[in-house]
Amino acid sequence: MIAERGTRIINLVQAVNEALDLALERDPRVVLFGEDVGKMGGVFRASDGLQPKYGDKRVFDTPLAESGIVGFAIGMAMAGLRPVAEIQFAGFLYPALDQILSHLGRMRHRTRGRFTIPLVIRAPYGGGVKTPEQHADSPEAILCHVPGVKVIIPSSPERAKGLLLSAIEDPDPVFFLEAIKLYRGVKAEVPEGYYTLPIGKARVVREGSAATLIAYGGMVEVCQKAAEVAAREGVELEVIDVETLVPLDTPTLVESVAKTGRAVVVYEAMRTGGFGAEIAARLAEEALDYLEAPIVRVAGWDAPYPPFSAVENFYRPDAKRVLEAVRQVLTH
C-alpha cells in the first residue's frame, strides 16, 4: 500500500484504465492501440474514455491482425514512442508469436543496444467466465520462454495499477497479463494518482509455516481461499504471489520453502510445460535440502481448455484441489 494517498475502491479493469490514463497524461510518447481499443474503449473497457481525452492519434483502433499489431508496435517503439498494445485475449497472441519470439526480446541484444523496444503488451487471460475456447487460454509459459522480455501478472487492482505504470516506464518489452476472472471479480482499495511498484519481486501475501502455496494472477485468490479454509483447521499456509514471472524472484520462493519445507505450485494453464514447472524446477535446484515433501503442482489438465462451459470448472484449479495437494504434502 502506498502511504499518504487517498484511496478508492475499484476493480482491476478500472485500475488498469487509471494507469493507462496516467501514463498517457505523463508521457507524450505513450500511445495506446489494439482491436476495439479506441472508439469502443476495449471489449473489457480498459481504455474507456481515453480516446475522447487524448485524441485518436494517441488512442486508436487497429485492423484485426495481431502479428500486425505487435510488429507495428515494435516499429513504433524502435522509432521513439512508448506503445501500449492491447491484444484482445491472450489466446489471440498466437498469431503474433513470430514477432514476439523472433524480435521483441532480441532486438536490443542483436543490435547491442542500438535499437530497443520499450513496449507493453497487455492481454486479458484465463478462464472461469465461460468464454469460448482460446478466450480462456493462459499462455504465460510461452511468453516466459521468450528471451529478453519481462512478464507480469498482477493479482489485485492496486498491484495492477502500480505494476502497469512500472511496465510502461520500463526500457524493455513487458507482457502484462490480466486475469479476466479478476477484472470485475475483485474490488479493493487503490491509491489515487501516479505510483509504481517494483518489477521482479514476489510477495508473501499470507504468512504461514505449514506449507507454501505459490501462485500468480487469478490463482492467488484461489490459494488465499484455500489458506483460509486450512486456517480454520489450524493449518497455517503461506501464500506467495509471484507477480513477476520473468525475471523470477527465486530468493523469495526459496526463503519461504526454507521455512515451510513444503511447496504447492498452482496455475491454470495446461500442466505440462506450464510456468509452474519452472518454479518447481528452481525449487528442486535451489531449495532441495529444505524440501520435506514432493513439490506438487495443481494446474489445468493436459488437454485444451474445455470449450464446454458446463465442465470448465473442473479444469481450472479451485480451493478444493489446492487443499487436496496441501494434504498430500503435509501427510508425506
Partner: protein, 345 residues
C-alpha cells in the same frame, strides 16, 4: 467494379432470374428457417439456455445462398462463428446447433454425413485449412468443393492472405466467402482497410473476385453456383465478397450503442434479405399469406422439437475434458481421468 444484383431493394427482379420456381421457394424457405433459428436462439440466450451467441440477422442470404450450392456429405463447409445460417442450410441438425451454442460437447462435431468443421473462433485460421481440405479433395479425385467463410475484419489477418495464396497456387476447389457486414465488432470496414471493395483483393492472387449484393439471395446463389462449377472444373478458387450488414449486436454480450448509431442499421433493415426474397416470390405469384403462416408454424414446430432434442443431451461429465485429446488415452490424461472420475490423480 459492379455489384452483382438480381433483385431490387423490394425484391423485384432486375433481370432474368436463373433459378427455377422450386429453387426460389426452397431458397426462401432456407432463409426463413435460418431467421427463425436466429430469433429463437436469442430468446434462449436471454433465458440463459445458450452461451454467448453471435446472431446473423440480416446476413441470411449471404450464407444461405452459398450453402445451397453445397452437398453436405460430398462438399465441405468451414464456417466462422457467424455462420449458423450456413450451417443450418448445409444440413446441420438444429438440435446440434443449439447444443453447440450451449457449449455442450454433444453439439460439437457434425454428424458423419455432414462435412462441417466446428465454427472457428480464432479469426481467419480456417482459410489455409480450407485450402488444404479443398486440395485434398482434389488430390483424392473427388468431385467436391469446399466453402470457407470469413468477415471483413478477418481479411486483415495473415492467414486470410496465406490461405488465399495457397488456394490459388494449387487451384484448390474453394469458395472464399467474405461477408462484408460493415463492422468488425466496433471497427467499421473503412478503418479496417483502405480498399473500397474487398473483391479487389482477389487481384493480388490472380483469381476471380466478385462483389455480390449479400442481401439478394438470387444473386448470392447464382454467383456461388458459378464459382462452385468453376472449382469443380479444376479452375481454382473464387473470392466472393457479399455486401451485407450486421443488423444485430456483434454477439449477445455486445452493445453496439458504444460505437454506432441506430440510423445505419435502420437503413439496412429496409434491405432485409428475407423481405426482399418474399417480395420476389410475391412478384412472381409464388407466395401468399397462407403459405407464410404455414411455414411459420412448421418452423416453430421444428425449432421446438430441436430444443426438446437438445435438452435430452445428458449433462457433460467432468472427465470428458480429458477425453479425445489423443486417439488412445495417454498416461497424463489417464491420471487426470481417474481423478476426475472420482479416484485420486
Amino acid at each position: 467494379m459492379d455489384t452483382v444484383r438480381y433483385l431490387d431493394d423490394d425484391g423485384k427482379p432486375l433481370r432474368d432470374i436463373p433459378l427455377s420456381e422450386e429453387e426460389l421457394l426452397a431458397g426462401y424457405r432456407a432463409l426463413r428457417r435460418a431467421r427463425h433459428f436466429d430469433e429463437r436462439a436469442l430468446v434462449l440466450q436471454r433465458q440463459g439456455r445458450l452461451g454467448v451467441y453471435p446472431p446473423f440477422r440480416g446476413q441470411e442470404a449471404a450464407q444461405v445462398g452459398v450453402a445451397l450450392c453445397l452437398e453436405p456429405s460430398r462438399d465441405w463447409l468451414l464456417p466462422s462463428y457467424r455462420e449458423t445460417a450456413a450451417a443450418i442450410t448445409f444440413g446441420m441438425p438444429l438440435s446440434k446447433l443449439i447444443l453447440s451454442w450451449r457449449a455442450d460437447p454433444a453439439g460439437w462435431g457434425a454428424p458423419p454425413e455432414v462435412n462441417m468443421v466446428q465454427f472457428y473462433i480464432p479469426i481467419a485460421t480456417q482459410v489455409p485449412q480450407a485450402a488444404g481440405v479443398a486440395h485434398a479433395l482434389r488430390l483424392q479425385g473427388k468431385d467436391a468443393v469446399a466453402a470457407v467463410f470469413i468477415g471483413d475484419g478477418g481479411t486483415s489477418e495473415g492467414d486470410f492472405h496465406e490461405g488465399l495464396n495457397f488456394a490459388s497456387v494449387f487451384d484448390a476447389p474453394l469458395l472464399v466467402v467474405v461477408q462484408n457486414n460493415g463492422w468488425a465488432i466496433s471497427v467499421p470496414t473503412q478503418k479496417q482497410m483502405k480498399v473500397q471493395r474487398i473483391a479487389l483483393k482477389a487481384q493480388g492472387y490472380g483469381i476471380p473476385g466478385v462483389t455480390v449484393d449479400g442481401n439478394d439471395l438470387v444473386a448470392v446463389w447464382t454467383v456461388a453456383r458459378k464459382a462452385a462449377a468453376r472449382a469443380r472444373a479444376g479452375e481454382g478458387p473464387t473470392l466472393i465478397e457479399a455486401l451485407t450488414y450486421r443488423v444485430a449486436p456483434h454477439t449477445s454480450s455486445d452493445d453496439p450503442g458504444r460505437y454506432r448509431t441506430e440510423d445505419e442499421a435502420e437503413a439496412w433493415k429496409k434491405r432485409d434479405p428475407i423481405d426482399r426474397m418474399r417480395g420476389c416470390l410475391l412478384h412472381l405469384g409464388l407466395w401468399d399469406e397462407e403459405k407464410e403462416r404455414a411455414l411459420s408454424e412448421e418452423l416453430e414446430a421444428e425449432f421446438v422439437a430441436a430444443v426438446e432434442e437438445a435438452d435430452k443431451a445428458s449433462e457433460p461429465r467432468p472427465w470428458e475434458i480429458v477425453e479425445q485429446v489423443y486417439a488412445e488415452m495417454q498416461p497424463d490424461q489417464q491420471a487426470a481421468w481417474n481423478y476426475l472420475h472420482g479416484g485420486e490423480a
